[in-house]
Amino acid sequence: MQTKHNIKRGVSLYSFQEETFLRKMSLEDCIAKASELGATGIQVVSEQSMPGFPHLSDAFYAQWHEWMEKYGCTPVCHDSFLDTKRHKGRNLTEEECVESVIRDLKHASKLGCSVMRILVSTSPELMEKCIPYAEEYNVKMGIEIHSPWHFDQPWIQRHIEVAERTGTKHFGLIPDMGIYTKRYPRVMKDRLIRNGATPAIAEYICEAYETRIFCEYVIFEVRSMGGNALDIAMAESLRHNIWSNPKRLLEYMPYIFHIHAKFYDMVDDETEYSIPYNEVIPYLIQGGYEGYLCSEYEGNRHIQDISEVDSVEQVRRHQAMMSKLLGEGQ
């Protein structure tokens, strides 16, 4: 396996959402932990980690940069939102949408982030209108390729067409590794069973997922089996989970400048239960990917009902796994 590359490790502070929500970790704690676990890049959901957004003081930004220096981290990505339904009864006009994107570009720029995550639901037309501002603030806007979307999905292809046609360096793609969910996440299955799903049916759904049977057939089958509401909800969740073709990373590499390294359940320091990072990272190396892989832990919501969530330990394992797969220290 090729190991020479320029791929860097980072952490999305989203990973510590449980501790942040419960006020067990402050923003500084999150940055410090990320650094301690070996990450050098920081991704942040500002609307989660920065109360007061978008009205943040100069003092806040100064503090942010002090922390970055203190913990030896580089700000990488601001995950933005676009509240098109802010007003009851009407959607934002296109002009208002552009204003909202500009607001976030300015913020990303003040944070020192070179990348800004755009929600996958954002239209290609709007993105094209925003490109000049992304260039002005020198922040790359990346559409998050989030399951069940994938590179070849026609909505994403329309975004890629915009990137190709404009030739800009400030619009591209941010794959979320959730698109490589090869097995049904164990933590999701177990949570559904605790909530009332039928164990045998849940097992069938997991097997059907691995067999790659068309999700609508699985849903039908679960109904035929007399599945309860949660069984059917679990079957319907197959419409939203995908194992997509990691080879496509090679083809679209020119448009990829950041990656959400989503994960649900680190079994140990080498294994994510459902996402085979060992089948994905080699393509990133082969394709010459040069950005960050930012750990994005999303398992807390599936286990918080029965156990204390330890996001730090989960991120530690994930960083350890990525470090190994990237051939660090060899």
Binding site: F21, Q48, P51, H87, R301
Partner: protein, 128 residues
């Protein structure tokens, strides 16, 4: 995501004004993974021991400001921040009797990227 954390187990009490009980309070959080502008908090529904509280009787207080649910609908600056504990004050002369009460809280949010409203529920038995 944070459903079970919506109703706080602390801060449940009757509210006094000039020695009269004018209502009761509970402390609540958003179940969502980020803060949200108040105009997108479409509804807050509270049930006490199976009886629904009228929407008009609810006041929402966060970061020192208080709103009726109707006022929140057009509030474009105030936000309910991530993990932030807000106070729900229910105008109900006489308040609640002392002892245990089953409280159900529903929060309905307008999340722009979802085609449907996000409706989340928590239920806890609290003692007054």
């Amino acid at each position: 995501m944070f459903d079970k954390y919506m109703i706080m187990e602390t801060g449940f009490c009757n509210v006094f004004q000039e020695q009269e009980v004018i209502g009761f309070q509970l402390q609540a959080r958003l179940p969502y993974y980020r803060g949200l502008g108040l105009s997108m908090v479409e509804d807050i529904r509270i049930t006490v021991d199976g009886n629904a509280v009228p929407r008009e009787a609810i006041r929402f207080t966060t970061l020192g400001k208080t709103y009726s649910l109707e006022e929140m609908e057009t509030e474009m600056v105030g936000r309910w921040e991530f993990g932030e504990v807000a106070t729900l004050t229910i105008n109900q002369p006489g308040g609640l009797s002392s002892g245990q009460h089953e409280i159900e809280l529903v929060e309905q949010l307008r999340i722009s990227y979802l085609p449907f409203p996000s409706i989340t529920k928590d239920k806890k038995t609290l003692a007054l």
